[in-house]
């Protein structure tokens, strides 16, 4: 279908372009402002120590598993460990169940559960946060060895 003399509706096209530019501009502006504002995805150890999160409500908390803090009960699946931000704040987590493979001391975890008034976090679910580095075990050992050497050299 071809229309020979039919004029394009210039005014409408102009209106459309203006609206498009305005809309896309607004969308861009809102996105930039959103990315500017911080998202709080889980409570950090420092916030839990300060008493920011509500007591008894289901929340998410995360941090690093403190070295040599994991205690397993001998007769059940109960595990207790401390989660730290490596800057002096930490809190205790109680959990009953099987821990994921990637769970180990010094690794990141995110726990979902409730906080009681003594500052103990009862977890219903533990997720190990996996970092984006892949390496063979030998490489990991070499890196660790290098770090130890560096430390002893100092």
């Amino acid at each position: 279908m071809k229309f020979g003399v039919m004029k394009p509706h210039r005014r409408n096209q102009l209106l459309l372009i203006c609206i498009l530019v305005l809309g896309l501009g607004l969308a861009l502006m809102f996105t930039l402002r959103a990315l500017d504002s911080n998202i709080n995805l889980f409570y950090a150890p420092a916030e839990i120590k300060n008493g920011t999160p509500p007591i008894g409500k289901r929340i998410r908390a995360g941090g690093m598993v403190k070295a040599e803090s994991v205690r397993r009960a001998s007769d059940s699946l109960e595990v207790r460990f401390e989660v730290t931000d490596l800057q002096g704040s930490d809190f205790e987590v109680h959990y009953t169940g099987i821990l994921p493979d990637l769970f180990r001391e010094g690794q990141g975890v995110v726990a979902t559960g409730t906080l009681d008034s003594d500052g103990v976090f009862s977890a219903e679910e533990i997720l190990a946060k996996h970092d984006e580095k892949y390496m063979p075990p030998e490489v990991a050992m070499v890196i660790e060895g290098a770090q130890i050497q560096e430390a002893s050299a100092l």
Binding site: M1, K2, F3, G4, V5, M6, K7
Partner: protein, 196 residues
């Protein structure tokens, strides 16, 4: 005003029409005749620009889009004839005044149902509401699919007058029918289908 070259169209593997060619210039009245299923409605949809699954060329030399009255009239059941008509006309031009709407509907003998919801109107009444648009439009081209069927004598007469006035003013009217329309002496006939 309208140039059609080598227009072919098929549906479900059957050719509706093949290599159709005709042209229409201002002041002409064209009747498209054919049996049910000969492709009249499809041809109208192609000419109106609603349907583009065809081969060939259709070229219009006009300012405004053609006015198309098909099998479905575009009347909302909840709205009155006045409201429906006002909406349909204002899609293409400035909204008409209430007085003009009343005159147009009155010509088609609809003066007593002006403000009744369209769902309470009969099929014939609804058809006349749709045709009352012809009185109000600026469009140069009218495409009237099966406009003359299911109209009473008075309605046919009014429609005939409107069409004659339109071609007298240099416009084009293309209409279809499956039985010959004898109301015009000057109409050219384009026959579709094998039996005609």
């Amino acid at each position: 005003m309208l140039q059609v070259n080598a227009l072919s169209c098929h549906r479900q593997g059957e050719w509706l029409f093949k290599e159709l060619a005709f042209s229409v210039s201002g002041g002409e009245l064209l009747e498209i005749r054919g049996d049910n299923g000969a492709g009249k409605t499809t041809l109208f949809k192609i000419l109106a620009g609603l349907f583009d699954d065809y081969e060939g060329e259709v070229t219009w030399e006009i300012q405004d889009p053609p006015l198309y009255v098909g099998h479905r009239f575009g009347l909302n059941a909840q709205l009155s004839p006045v409201e429906n008509l006002s909406f349909l006309v204002s899609l293409n031009q400035n909204a008409p005044a209430r007085k003009d709407l009343e005159v147009a509907l009155g010509r088609f003998n609809l003066a007593d149902v002006l403000d009744q919801p369209c769902r309470s109107l009969s099929e014939g009444q609804r058809k006349r509401v749709a045709l009352a648009r012809l009185e109000l439009t600026d469009s140069q081209i009218w495409l009237l699919d099966e406009a003359f069927s299911a109209l009473d004598t008075k309605g046919r007469q009014v429609l005939t007058e409107l069409c004659q006035r339109q071609v007298a003013q240099g416009g084009v009217v293309i209409f279809s029918s499956h039985q010959p329309v004898s109301d015009f002496d000057s109409a050219r006939v384009l026959a579709l289908g094998k039996s005609v």
